[in-house]
């Protein structure tokens, strides 16, 4: 699969690059960002996938989160894909900011007109890792995943639906129980149709209830002053209750004064990178 380098910038001794390729799952051209730490010059490094939230592209995380220093120090390759297919000219995909373009919700759509292109789940869990493993100095056995908001939801469901695939998972202000919140109902209704049993397959709170797999160690940071938390879009209490019941280890930190923005992410990104490094560099 041909990769076209779009940009490359040196950062903390490593290289922040952006590539474009023709995606098979999404049937369009897709960009992704990839940071190669200094250590990648001489050896294969573990891979950490970041999934962004609503309205983001591959640019937001690499320009606003301040993750580079920690990734450089811990020797992690960090990959940040886009949040939806682009330029597919589907009717209605730009009508709202929380559905369609920039709002893929990391599912494989089953409904028309979305099902041909909106296959972000398979893109993130299959196509992108295969592409990265083939073209960059990464160790295919050591992979972890994290994200923010819709991307936090994405990270949690990818880990819960694929026991053993990821060494660790973490999230910033994730959408924990999409079947019960406005965002989730709108997205799942549009991508997956009206059969709510199909929705549960992409809901972290439901997935945990039947999670059979090996120990996951989940770190979640949530801003206390996050308007989406008070709007009932995130519902972390439901996820925590389910994890307590199933004895899935979670440390959930409610951070006083912080909101939903990248200022919040930047404050705690080092803690998250260290959380993943502990498992990826073990």
């Amino acid at each position: 699969m041909a990769l076209k380098q779009i940009s490359s910038n040196k950062c903390f001794g490593g290289l922040q690059k952006v590539f474009e390729h023709d995606s098979v799952e999404l049937n369009c051209k897709m960009k992704f960002a990839i940071y190669l730490p200094p250590k990648a010059e001489t050896e294969k490094c573990p891979a950490l996938y970041w999934l962004s939230g609503l309205t983001c592209t591959e640019q937001n995380f690499i320009s606003k989160s301040g993750f580079h220093q920690a990734a450089s120090e811990h020797g992690l390759v960090v990959i940040a894909p886009d949040t939806s297919p682009r330029g597919c000219n589907i009717k209605g995909e730009d009508d709202s900011w929380d559905f369609g373009t920039g709002a893929g919700f990391y599912v494989d759509a089953t409904e028309d007109p979305w099902k041909t292109n909106y296959r972000m789940y398979s893109y993130v869990t299959e196509e992108l890792p295969q592409l990265v493993n083939a073209n960059f100095p990464v160790d295919p056995q050591r992979m972890s995943i994290f994200g923010h908001s819709m991307g936090g939801h994405g990270a949690l469901i990818c880990a819960l639906k694929n026991p053993g695939k990821y060494k660790s998972v973490s999230a910033f202000a994730p959408i924990c129980n999409p079947v019960l919140c406005a965002w989730g109902k709108k997205a799942f209704g549009g991508y997956l149709g009206t059969d709510q049993s199909k929705w549960k397959a992409y809901d972290a709170t439901h997935l945990v209830k039947s999670y059979p797999g090996s120990q996951l160690d989940i770190l979640i940071d949530q801003g206390k002053d996050d308007q989406f938390l008070s709007d009932g879009q995130l519902l972390p209490d439901n996820f925590i209750a389910a994890c307590t019941e199933k004895k899935v280890p979670v440390v959930f930190r409610l951070q006083e004064g912080y909101d939903h923005s990248y200022y919040f992410i930047a404050t705690f990104i080092t803690d998250h990178i260290r959380h993943h490094a502990k498992y990826l560099n073990a």
Binding site: Q215, D217, K224, I240, C243, T244, K247, V248, P249, V250, V251, F252, R253, L254, Q255, E256, R274, H275, A277, K278, A282
Partner: protein, 324 residues
């Protein structure tokens, strides 16, 4: 003593004692005037190392002992050998001229040492004390009985703390500077060496407990974590729910933990000014305080309900802890 020779061995003298000797000659007429006096000091008795109070870490050990002598001696000598090397060919390191009954000795990590102490006076050195063995793996401390709240008992090995169902005293103890009087707590004696120290505490998930560190002069009438001289993790169990707080100066972050730890790992890092807590069984990081340690702190433990805490120390720092 009457002897016919011009020499005499005097035995059964008291140790660490000054004796005057003189000789008189005797014939049928009577005794001669006394000769000049000569003064000799007997060597002291060997000291007794307080093995229960040894504090150690990977680079040093603090040893203290009882003099073993009623009267003062001039100084003490600590002798140590690495226990693997056999006695004759092994190197014995000596620390001499120690003026008091305690010594902080530098050691190498992950070794086992045999330690003796001798007392010294003008008469010479005492015999070696009974030895103690010190392992420089992890940090070792024992609980300090003098700080212990009356409702707590410490086990024989100094590492288990028990609060029994029935209170032995009906009323609250009087205020004290050394002994915890309100908070049912006890403090350990951690070696005063900067660096990193790690220990673990086995807890009962259904018991209310608090574990952490505090300065020696933490107010003993306060709860742990209620002032700026202590940092701790507190667990409360009520209505089948576990609640966790990380307290310093009465403040705690808002943290939820879904799997309640049975063994808590505690990392005290003087170099980076941090105190971290872990679920040791699953290598999960729970919380890290950033603290200003302007002087040395000690591990502290309290039980808010009847139950027990078992301390494990002398543990090499687990790999996952090194990330913090």
């Amino acid at each position: 003593m009457t002897v016919k020779e011009t020499y005499c061995s005097v035995t059964n003298l008291m140790p660490n004692t000054q004796y005057e000797f003189w000789v008189t000659a005797q014939n049928r007429t009577g005794p001669s005037p006394a000769s000049e006096c000569v003064v000799y000091m007997t060597a002291p008795s060997p000291p007794i190392i307080k093995s229960k109070e040894i504090q150690s870490c990977e680079e040093a050990a603090l040893i203290c002992w009882e003099s073993g002598n009623l009267n003062p001696v001039d100084s003490y000598t600590v002798e140590l050998t690495q226990a693997e090397t056999p006695e004759p060919s092994g190197v014995t390191e000596s620390v001499v001229g120690i003026p008091t009954c305690e010594s902080l000795v530098q050691l190498h990590p992950r070794q086992s040492y045999t330690v003796y102490v001798r007392a010294l006076n003008m008469g010479g050195p005492s015999a070696r004390s009974d030895p103690v063995t010190i392992y420089t793996t992890g940090s070792c401390f024992h609980l300090n009985e003098h700080t212990c709240h009356p409702w707590l008992t410490i086990s024989e090995d100094g590492l288990t703390v028990v609060r029994s169902e029935r209170k032995t005293l009906a009323k609250e103890p009087l205020p004290s500077n050394t002994r915890f009087t309100r908070c049912v707590a006890v403090m350990g004696n951690l070696i005063p060496i900067r660096g990193r120290h790690y220990w673990e505490v086995e807890v009962d998930e259904r018991v209310d407990y608090t574990v952490g560190v505090a300065f020696e002069d933490v107010p003993k009438q306060d709860d742990l974590g209620a002032n700026c001289l202590s940092w701790c993790m507190r667990h409360r169990f009520a209505s089948s729910r576990h609640k966790y707080e990380f307290l310093h100066n009465k403040m705690t972050p808002d943290i939820r933990i879904t799997v309640s730890p049975r063994k808590i790992g505690i990392l005290l890092d003087y170099e980076n000014s941090k105190l971290s807590f872990f679920n040791a069984d699953i290598s999960q990081h729970l919380y890290t305080f950033s603290c200003q340690f302007y002087c040395f702190v000690h591990p502290c433990f309290s039980l808010e309900k009847p139950g027990c805490l078992k301390i494990h120390n002398g543990i090499a720092m687990p790999k996952h802890v090194a990330f913090y």
